[in-house]
């Protein structure tokens, strides 16, 4: 018993591990909650693109000596609004435009980093996160932005629900549909900024879509999908961090791998929507 307790508490004899745990818990809750909308609205590609588009903002903030999050937030919000505006012009294929902006911005970010001396290390941190390098200031910023996102999702719950489920109804009820869509995009940008420190640009997408997709397989209502998704996200964050401590793997990928395993299990075993269920149903005819 003592050994288990020791095993569980030992990582937290290090201050950086405690900060890392808090950071991963914030990301593990906030990302999946907003991720439910990413999954339900089919915004996965947009989310991934936005994460990569933010890279030059992070790098420029670094070069100018700003807080990294400030640069990321600025670029992220601008990109989100620009994509929102482009998306409403139906003559342009939206995914192609997103692809162009995504790749171009990412190339710019990598080019800027490659001009610096400590290129290899910093790029890896931005791409795959640096959970154990989270400072107290970072943590407060993450907590503040995370609370803002959760509060907005709560306050605009029914409005986001209706623009996601039935945009036509939202229009006939004369709700400000494009304003609400833009708010959702800005929230997405904020969430990505929060997550970059934890899992990096390349894996933010997993935090957004994997727990939410798992929850989608199991839940029949949006609130339970959000709660379940946040539960899976935070559980994966904690377990991933232990794995990273004891098995000595990078923390970001460890968290994402735990989430992926849970998804595969749910995909196979979930009632009603799972593969096994499907198989039994067809057997029974």
């Amino acid at each position: 018993m003592d050994e288990i307790l020791h095993w569980l508490t030992q990582p937290f004899s290090y201050a950086f591990m405690i900060r890392g745990m808090w950071a991963s818990l914030i990301v593990g809750v906030v990302c999946p909650v907003l991720g439910t909308y990413v999954v339900l609205r089919g915004m996965a590609f947009l989310g991934d693109a936005l994460a990569h588009i933010i890279l030059p903002g992070v790098v420029m903030a670094f070069l100018l000596g700003w807080p990294l999050a400030a640069g990321a937030l600025l670029v992220g919000v601008l990109a989100a609004l620009a994509i929102g505006a482009l998306g409403r012009r139906s003559e342009i294929k939206q995914d192609a435009i997103i692809g162009v902006v995504f790749a171009g911005a990412f190339a710019l970010g990598v080019a800027l980093i490659s001009m610096q001396r400590s290129y290899a290390v910093d790029l890896a941190h931005i791409l795959f996160g640096d959970l154990l390098g989270v400072s107290n200031d970072d943590l407060w910023l993450m907590a503040g932005l995370g609370a803002l996102v959760l509060f907005t999702v709560f306050a605009l719950y029914k409005e986001f629900l209706v623009i996601s489920f039935d945009p036509v109804l939202a229009t006939t009820l004369r709700l400000p549909v494009s304003l609400l869509q833009n708010i959702l995009l800005v929230l997405l940008a904020i969430v990505i900024v929060i997550s970059i420190q934890a899992v990096g640009v390349a894996l933010v997408l997993a935090m957004l879509v994997t727990p939410a997709s798992t929850a989608y397989l199991i839940s029949r209502r949006l609130p339970s999908m959000m709660l379940l998704s946040a539960g899976i996200g935070s559980f994966s964050a904690v377990l991933g961090l232990y794995l990273s401590f004891y098995v000595n793997v990078a923390s970001g990928p460890a968290i994402v791998l735990v989430e992926t395993v849970i998804f595969v299990l749910a995909f196979a075993l979930a009632p009603r929507r799972g593969a096994l269920w499907e198989l039994l149903r067809t057997r029974r005819g």
Partner: protein, 272 residues
Amino acid sequence: MAQLLTRPANHDISAPPIQMEGVSLRYDSTFVLRDITFSLPAGQLVAVVGPNGAGKTTLFRIIAGILRPEAGLVHVYGHKPGGHVCIAYVPQRSQVDWSFPITVKEVVMMGRIRKIGLFRWPNRHDWKYVRHALERVGISALSNQQIGELSGGQQQRVFLAQALAQEAEIVLLDEPLTGLDMPSQEAIFATLDELKREGVAIMVAMHDLNLAAERFDQVMLLNRRLIDFGFPQDVFTRASLLEAYGGNVHLLPEGEGMLIADTCCEGGEEHL
């Protein structure tokens, strides 16, 4: 925050629910609707019929204020439709994401979102409305089901209940009867008749001309132009039907009346 919302339009109850004058709309230079003029009184149950691509859905979307016509005037209770919250538009079943994690009563509650107001949550009064709406369409027992678990007729009634919860004064239903069995159709008609008696103006896009002739007060025969609008016996003439459907409708003399078979359109889908 109230200024974020569109200012509600003036709602002149002495004006007709729907009035159109010379309304036209084109997609890529072809007319989807051309010079549509009509006036719809309150408390009428109107069938909108015409072949696929006749512009039924487009007509509904213009009335609902989702599409704006290029030319012509649209008045809903004496004012442009864009500010009205009294219109319920129920799209075709194929337009709905039935796997969305949402229950029947939540879909019905959506009709009240504007009445509840930004940042607020539904209160007991709102839920009472929802329960009442579900009772009226006869699906109270299903209120906690996920919407994908329902049959086609039940799903259609969920959206009818949503229109009730919205306290809509104009109800536009896009092919609600397609693919439904007789009892489901009857359940929908029972609710529509009730609404009609309360003075709600109802327009139903459909393909079954016999049903249109039997169960509706008025019919609107549409094929990009408004061919005729009035009582079924006046509208469903050989000449008008031929004009709407071309060679695709067979008219058989049968005693005094006619047997009408719309051979091209059953179960078809229309996207404009």
